[in-house]
């Protein structure tokens, strides 16, 4: 029993990470149909900045955290302006795929130039202690991922539901032409979505660096895993994305334990494909153009 609980908890911790990163994809996808392929590298950047600010510049934890998120958000604003806006020419445009992949490579190379290839872990303010639940262990520094992800999710939903920006975002997702006719600049809305998505990436990376080693090359692998979470859930459903992230995290650990560690990726992605056969728009999705909150 304790083993099953241990596997669940371990899976949840790593699932939170997937969920957090995958949320970033949803924000931009819904408003203009673009997935920022450099999302993983943005998360990496958040983590590396966080590590640099706390461990090399010795800034306080929260200051570094805020700076990491803000800087990545700002960068994503630039990315939207330079690598998205020009290439997003309606539903059939795919140029943005190449442009955002290119941006990801640039981010990684620039980060390598300044940071070097070192791996680092930011000391967590909650320490290195372990929480024991019925014999199963989880580090406090991982355990805090759960409430943080929950908070971010609630924040995002409140933003969508209560703020006028959130309303505009949802409206843009539903019908971009209509919102232009109403006199709202849809470019501005897209930019806002990118800033928020960058903010999430920065936060995700900074948070991640408190338990996992961050180095300049972790971005691509993370981004790919998160994009499969987002697609599995249905990209426009934030709650679904968090659920899918957790499910994937747990599934990985259980498949590793009960089937094979060597073939676990194969099983996980095989499952993803099967789910998409069954529900092509994603597990928790109904319509492609409405944000489900």
């Amino acid at each position: 029993m304790s083993l099953v609980l241990q596997l669940m908890i371990s899976g949840l911790a790593v699932g939170c990470l997937y969920a957090l990163i995958a949320l970033g994809y949803s924000l931009t996808y819904v408003v203009n149909g673009t997935l920022n392929m450099s999302q993983g590298q943005l998360v990496m950047l958040g983590g590396v900045i966080m590590f640099g600010f706390t461990s090399h510049a010795h800034l306080p934890f929260l200051v570094s955290f805020a700076l990491a998120a803000a800087l990545v958000a700002l960068l994503n604003l630039g990315i939207e302006r330079l690598a998205i806006r020009k290439f997003d020419r309606g539903p059939n445009a795919i140029e943005w795929v190449l442009s955002t992949i290119a941006v990801g490579i640039i981010i990684q190379d620039v980060a390598l130039y300044f940071n070097g290839p070192d791996e680092g872990v930011t000391p967590s303010p909650v320490g290195d202690g372990m929480l024991r639940i019925m014999g199963a262990g989880v580090y406090w520094k991982e355990f805090v991922f759960l409430p943080v992800v929950a908070l971010l999710l609630v924040g995002l939903i409140v933003f969508y539901k209560k703020s006028h920006w959130g309303l505009w975002l949802r409206a843009t997702a539903d019908n971009r032409t209509a919102i232009e006719i109403m006199g709202v600049s849809s470019n501005k809305i897209v930019a806002v979505a990118y800033v928020l998505s960058g903010l999430l990436a920065g936060l995700g990376g900074a948070l991640m660096s408190t338990n996992y080693a961050v180095s300049v090359d972790i971005g691509l692998a993370l981004g790919l895993k998160a994009i499969s979470v987002a697609i599995l859930a249905g990209v426009n459903n934030p709650k679904g994305i968090v659920a899918a992230g957790l499910i994937l995290g747990i599934a990985e650990v259980f498949i590793g334990q009960y089937i094979s560690t060597a073939f676990r990726e194969m099983f996980v992605y095989g499952m993803v494909i099967l789910v998409l056969y069954w529900k092509p728009a994603g597990l928790f999705n109904t319509s492609k153009t409405v944000i489900k909150v």
């Binding site: 070192d118 791996e119 872990v121 290195d128 262990g137 590793g256």
Partner: protein, 417 residues
Amino acid sequence: MMKMAKGKRWFTGLVVAAMVGVLAGCGASDNNGENGGTAGANAPAATSEASSDPILIGMSTEATGDNAMNSVNLYQGVQVAVDQINAKGGIHGRQVELVVRDTEQNPTRGISIIRDFSQKEKVLAAIGGFHSTVMLAQSPVIMEEKLAFMVATSNVPASVESGMPWTFGVRMNANITAQYALTFIEKHFQTNKIAILHENGGYGKGAAAAMTKVLEEKGLKPTAVETFDNAKDKDMTAQVNRAKESGAEVIYLFGQGAANGYVLQAMDKLGWKVPVVGENGTANKGIQEVGKELANGVYAIQTANFNVEQTREPAKAFITDFEAKFGHLPTTFASAAQGYDGAMLLFQAIEKAGLTGDLEKDRQAIRDTLESGVGPYSGVIRDWEQVFTAENHDAIDVNSYLMCVWKDGKLVVSDLQ
């Protein structure tokens, strides 16, 4: 002297510029690395004995990717060797110059680098071989190109053994390492119940196969063999638990850096404490970053340790020069030491072989000299009488190893040897 040192910034600039080009919609471009390393240098014409042209040595390294921080040690070790030989006036009055290439941990790129060394840059010999998957791909091509290559880290036996006349190893051959490790484990932990946890690339697979083989020779089996993806897997609960359930009393751990730390975390969560023995992967600081105090007591098989007072004269000179040049100690001791000794052996072979100016003949002469005539040599790792023979291209044997262990955030020489 180092082309890369100057060229690197330009190279980065070039790549960024190229990528900005992509951004502007010019189309894909990923081949700019081709000329980056030697920008501004002309490939020399056919060399002659009297020529004062530099002696070119190929340096195949991983400057990018998750192994870069470890791989750089090998490169730095070689650089120290080059500086020392040049300070002494070079080889036969000619300075030694490195032609540096980044494999990006990509086997395909690794192959084209060997072709490049041989055909375009016309190097006399080459050194490198950190990343095992890349090295495995490079080995047959090295044989085709008839170019002596010094493998200074990669543990995979096949890259030097099994009829490879052109590759020579100053590295911890996984087969020899496994024998050494098993002897160590049996002697000090009185057990042979070993679980192998390894990353799924050439490095981990080579080590797992070697340990399985030495156990089988004794009629034994590893209790469990579990794999993980070094770049992707962050949670090792399943792997560690399977090892635990198998009744293992020692873990033979072959991941790189942080991934090893995740293994320690999973052991901690499962409340399982057994000795952990690894090699270069547990020697670099990623395991310490993630595992913190959990790393204490983890063993790392090395060929040198620079956290302690050096007793050997060449080692003293090496580490003094290394610190003066780079401002810090090597982070993976074995790779730095092996890079240095490997380069020095190559230089000795070139010196003894003598150069005629005919590239093909010179390469052949260097290879033949390496095989039969190198030594005595007093290196960082140890003293050699004759380093290589026709039957044995591996310079490092069980007596060259040094068991190290993590203690309070530092890798020190283990009391148990």
